[in-house]
Amino acid sequence: MKFTSKLAFAASALALSVSAAWADSGEISVGMALEPPHLDPTSAAAGAIDQVLYANVFQGLTRFASDGSIIPGLAESWTISDDGLTYVFQLRHGVKFHDGTDFDASHVVFSLDRARAEDSTNAQKALFADIASVKTGDHYSVIVTLSKPNGSLLFNLAWGDAVIVSPESIDTIKEKPIGTGPFRFVEWVKGDRIELERTPDYSWGDQVALDKVTFRFISDPTAAFAAVMSEDVDVFPVFPAPENLAQFDADPRFQVLVGSTEGETILSTNNKLPPLDDVRVRKAIAHAIDRKAIIDGAMFGFGTPIGTHFAPHNPAYLDLTGNSAYDPEMSKSLLAEAGLADGFTTTLKLPPPSYARRGGEIIAAQLREVGINVEISNLEWAQWLEQVFRGKDFGLTIVSHTEPMDIGIYARPDYYFQYDNPEFQALITELNAEAKADKRTELLHKAQTMISEDYVNGYLFQLAATGVANAKLQGLWVNAPTQATDLTGVSWAE
C-alpha cells in the first residue's frame, strides 16, 4: 500500500496560484483569546500552543488539511505491512530545523520515543500507546512497529502533540521553539504577543506568502471586538463573542468565517450516580432538551445539533438526532416509568466557556419543565478538572470535547462520565485494529448508534468555528479539524 502525495501537492499548488498575487504588505496580525502557557506542543494540553505553532513552526510526519483529511508532512510517503504492524515512513530530503541542523530519521526516533517515554509529560500519551518501537531504517526512513494493529496511527501522528522536535532544542523549547516549519519563532513578549517570520531558506514544502506574523493575546471579548473594528488585528480565528458576528458580517471591511470544529458539546452525565444510572432517566433528559433553543439562545444560532458523540462533517457520521428528539411528554412518562413521577434533583456543574454557562441556564429551564430540578454551580476550569473530571463529583455538566475522533473515550470505564459497557469496549478494540476504510465506517456507525441508544450523555451540538477576518485575506482555514491557525496558505488579495 503506497501513498504518494502528488494529489495533495496539486491541491495546495492550486491554492497557491490563486493567492500568488499577494499585496505588498506580507504581514498579518492574528488575534487570540488565550495565550499559550509555554511553547512546547508536546507537553501540554493547551490548545493555544497549537494555535500559534501547528503547521507554522512545527511539523509532524503527517498533518491535518483544512477539511480534516490526513496529508503528508515531514514523511513524504509510507508503506504499511499486510498485518498492519509495521509502518515504514520515507522522509522528505533537504529539511532543516530553524537552527540550521539537518533533519533526518534520528529526529523522528527521538521525538516519538520522548513522547511515549516513562517520564513523558505528553498530554496525549495515549496516541502512542500501541507503538512498540521506533527505529531508523536508513538516513531518511523510519520504521514504526506496533504491538497491535492501529488504524488511527497516521491520524494520531498528525496531532500537534506528535510534531518532530530536535534534541538540541529541548532544554529551551518552552521559551524558544525550534521546528522545521515555513515560519520561525522570533519573539514572545509575554502577555502581549508572539512574533514569527518566514523561514529564510525554506525549500521543502509549499512557499508561503506572508513575511511576518504577529499573534496578539486579547482575552476580553469587548477588547477583541475593538481590536477587529479598529483593524489592529487582521484576523480573529476563534472570535470570543458570537453575538458580534452579525455586525462584522454587515461591514464590507470584514468577512465572517463559519465552519465546523471537532467539538462535540455534550450534557455529560454521571452514569454511576443514581438516578442517572437508569437509562430511562437519561433518555428522559435527552427528550427534555430542545437543541434548537440552546443553539439559538446560547450560541446565537451557530452550531449543528448532534444525536451522538461524532462530528457531523465526518464522512462516517450517522444522523441520530431522532433518538433524542424534543418531546417533554415522553420525558415525563419515562420518568414515571422509572418511579420518578415527581421528578428529582441533581447538580449541574458548569465550566467557564459561554456555551456551558449560557447553555446551562437554558437546559436547567428545560429540565424543570419535566420535573427535573438542577442546582447550577459555576466552576473555574481548574476546579472543574478537580471536582468533575477527576473527582467525578457531579450529576450533570456541559463540556465540549474538542479532540478529533474521540469516540474511544466511551470505552474507558474510569472516564469521568463512567460509561461501562463491555460490548462497546470490544467494539472499539476491533475498530482500533481495523485499517480498511469501509469496515471502519461500519464499526463507527455501530459505535455511534450504541452510545446514542444508551443515552450515555445528552448530545447537544457540534461547536461551530466562528472567526472574523479582514475581507482581503484569503486562504484561511474555515473549519477547525484540530486547534490550529495554519497560515501556510494565507495571503493578502490585491
Binding site: A45, T121, A123, V189, D192, T222
Partner: protein
Amino acid sequence: MLRYSLKRFLSLLISLLVASIVIFVVIEIVPGDPATYMLGINAQEDTIAALREELGLNASKLERYWNWLSGMMVGDFGTSYTYRSPVNELIGDRIWVSLPLALIALTLSTAIAFPIGIIAASRRGSVTDMSVMGATQLGVAIPNFWFAMILVLIFAINLRWFASGGFPGWDEGVFAGLKALTLPAIALALPQASILARVMRTSLLDTLSEDFVRTARAKGLSKAKALRRHALRNALIPVLTIIGLQFSFMLAGAIIIENVFYLPGLGRLIFQSISQRDLIVVESVVMLLVFAVVLVNFFVDLTYALVDPRLRGRQ
C-alpha cells in the same frame, strides 16, 4: 527617632511574615491542581504524576512554603508552573508596564484634582462649585472599565488616533510606549481624580474654617493668600493619604483596565495565573504588592515622625 524607626521596621518584618503565611495558606487551599490543568482531559495518570514530580508539587506543603520563603529572602521567587520561566523575569517584564501606567495615572489624577478641588472650595456654593462637584459625582459613579470602552470607541475605532490596546514595549521608543499608555491612564485616572477632587475640597473647607486661617485673615491677608499660604498646606495631609492609597490601587487594581486594553501588566499576570493555577506566580505577585504597600506605609510612618515631633517623643 532611632528607636521609633527600629520599632516601625520590626513591625514591617512581622507584617511581611504574617502576610506570607496568609497568602500561602489561602492560595494553597484553593481547589485545582496545576499539573491537571496543564495536561487537560486526555492526560493519563502517569503523565500527571510525572509532571507533578517535575514541578516539585509532591513536596510537603511546609517544605514548599519554606522553599518559597527562603528563596524570596535572596530575591528568588521560584519558577512559574505554566510559563516555566523564573517568576522574577515575569514580574520584571510586567512591572515596566504597570508601574509607568500607575505613575502616569496618578500624576494625571493629581493634576486634575488639585485645581478643581481648590477652585470648588474657594468658591463654595457658587455655580462653578456646583457644576464641578456635579461632574465629579458623575466621575465617581462611572465604572472605569465602561469609561475605558467609551474611550476605545471614540479614539481607537472612530478617530483612529490610538491603537485599541496592546503595548509595543519600551524598545520601540518612549513615545510609542507613552502613546499606548495614554488611554488606559486616562481611564484609570479620571474616576480617581473625581474622588481626590472631592477630598481636596472637603479638607480645604475644613481648614478654611479653622482659627489659624481666621487669624491670618485678621492679620490682613487676602482670602486667596490665606488659602495659599496657610490653609492649603494643612489641608494636604488627608489628600496625601488618599494619594498613597490610590497608588497601590492603581498598581494592583488595574486588572480590569489591563484586560480592556490588553496590556501585559501585573494585573493581567495575576488574572491569568489564578485561572491557570500557577500558584507560585500568584503567591509571589501578591507578596510583592503587599511588600510595596507595607514599604510605602513604613516610609509614611517615618515621614509622619519627621513632620510631627510629638510622635517621636511618644514611647
